[in-house]
Amino acid sequence: MLRPFARSLRVAGFFLGVAFFVILAAFPFYWMVITAFKQNSDLYKVTNIPFWFNEPPTLEHVKYLFEETLFARWLLNSLVIGVCVTAITLITAIPAGYSLARMTSRKGEALGIMIFLTYLVPPTLLFLPLSRIIAELGLQNSMWSLVLVYPTFTIPFCSWLLMGFFKALPVEIEEAAIVDGCSLFGAFIKMAIPLSVPAILTVMIFTFTLTLQEFVYALTFISSSDQKPITLGVSTDLIRGDVFFWGEIMAGALIAAIPVAIAYNLFLDRFIAGITGGAVK
């Protein structure tokens, strides 16, 4: 008699645990959605139950965001920065990853580890000298400074990821191409790259999301509103004096967060395999 009872108690406990984690992780996002579509009169009334709409939902905040603020401009800035950084990263990291994967000597391994360790050098250690360098180059207060600086963390990260992928690619394919008259460089261009398109796609997505997530460099280098990327714009520019426009801020945060969240969920396993450096087989 007791056993089925004990079992159902365990199942209930299990789902309670799962529910706890889901609420913990997702509640702030639920809260973003609710806030973004609530009317102000509903939002700022402490007697209302805050968890759902007491008055009909509204698109007023989203409209305000696009019509009265630089939100669209920030989106565009982020897009331009993301595309340029991704291009720079691919051009440098694909050859580097390939070369590191094919180097057989001790030197290759040491170089690979060195490149990876630079990923761990934090922006808060580099932002002072970099801001002076950027001022020297005349790029202060311009989004192009971010295009210059963001590859400092995307290149190490992506070279490391690509190195892992190229290592998994059998050398024999390239050797066969070379026997058939392909040059060494040609084997890389015509064989290795086409065969690693899925890996390159992953790297593109991650570079793009890394640029969207970055905050410290953007905060340090850019102060004029029309040059800000989306993350910085939403978190620092929608606050007028001491007044927070919570509806607009949450709507902006939501729009900026959705693409990154989707990308991460799709590519998470590759990401984890990449940063643990193939420790998981």
């Binding site: 889901v22 992780a25 968890f51 250690l125 002076r132 927070f244 969240a261």
Partner: protein
């Protein structure tokens, strides 16, 4: 008679010839990445060290060498010691909380149940979303007047409106807030790391232990935990490095306040070096991160070497 095409010997340009030497090609391919990193990570790092030993400010960009004077002044400042302590509390508090949550979460997500994919996708959210945006959402949840957390506690009868805490206005609660947010941001990462480790443990090892009479706890702590330790260590290293050097959560949520109670190294370096323009002292403050980073790097190198043997 079939005509067999003669192989045409094309004159090979010198350039092609060089590219066909393996070492040369490898060097050329890796060079752009190395150069980029040397110029924009290596050089600034050296520059940061030099700034910290100079009297450089934005208003007076001098290269005058002052030795360790900046460091001495910083260490004599009692608020800096608080900053240092805050950084350690912030880092280790949030990593510990994140690890505990991660272990439990992984334990739950290991069992198959309907809707597991969706649950996983939802649980990943805190790690995926840009931290600045998530911090803003938390700031709204900790709002002094409209805090949903306070509202719930009042509605549940735990508190009255007069007793409701001012989360970001109280030094201890503010510290708790930034620890919670950072733990919240990292626990999905910890879950994924634990899951990756546990699923990589061969099932026959676990079966063998079970046959030999190892119970649930013994299997968990004497078989599985030692086997997944390397991968957990790597995850933890990432967590520590990115938390110890973090600036965004504190900058957006508390501005180091109230009264410096949540000021951390990254934030102090930013305030001194960028906002006040005292580059020399700012660089010196930031360089206090270096010892921790070095320990992490050494640990990492030792770990990588051990794995490859």
């Amino acid at each position: 008679m079939a005509v067999i095409a003669e192989p045409v010997v094309k004159p090979v340009p010198r350039f092609r010839f060089i590219l066909d030497r393996r070492e040369v090609l490898e060097t050329i391919l890796v060079a752009p990445a190395i150069l980029y990193v040397l110029l924009l990570v290596g050089l600034p790092l050296l520059l940061a060290v030099y700034y910290s030993l100079s009297a450089y400010t934005i208003y007076n960009p001098t290269w005058k060498f002052v030795g360790l004077a900046n460091f001495e002044q910083i260490l004599q400042n009692p608020t800096f010691l608080d900053t240092l302590r805050n950084t350690f509390i912030f880092t280790f508090g949030s990593q510990l909380l994140g690890l505990v949550l991660g272990k439990f979460g992984a334990f739950l997500l290991l069992q198959p149940f309907p809707g597991r994919k969706i649950v996983r996708a939802l649980i990943i959210l805190p790690f995926a979303v840009p931290v600045a945006l998530a911090t803003i959402a938390w700031q709204w949840m900790f709002d002094s007047l409209y805090s949903v957390i306070n509202w719930t506690m009042i509605a549940a009868g735990i508190l009255t409106r007069d007793e409701a805490p001012n989360w970001l206005g109280n030094p201890y609660l503010a510290m708790l807030c930034i620890v919670i947010i950072n733990a919240w941001r990292f626990f999905p990462f910890a879950i994924v790391i634990f899951l990756a480790g546990i699923t990589a443990v061969p099932q026959d090892v676990i079966d063998a232990a079970t046959v030999d009479g190892a119970g649930f706890w013994r299997r968990n702590y004497q078989i599985i935990l030692p086997m997944i330790l390397p991968i957990v260590a790597i995850g933890l290293i990432f967590g520590i490095v990115f938390t110890f050097t973090d600036l965004s959560i504190v900058f957006l949520l508390t501005m180091g306040g109230p009264g410096g109670a949540t000021s951390v190294l990254g934030f102090a370096g930013f305030q001194t070096g960028i906002v006040s323009g005292d580059v020399a002292h700012g660089a010196a403050i930031s360089l206090f991160m270096l010892p921790v980073l070095l320990v992490v790097v050494i640990f990492m190198l030792r770990f990588i070497r051990r794995r490859e043997i």
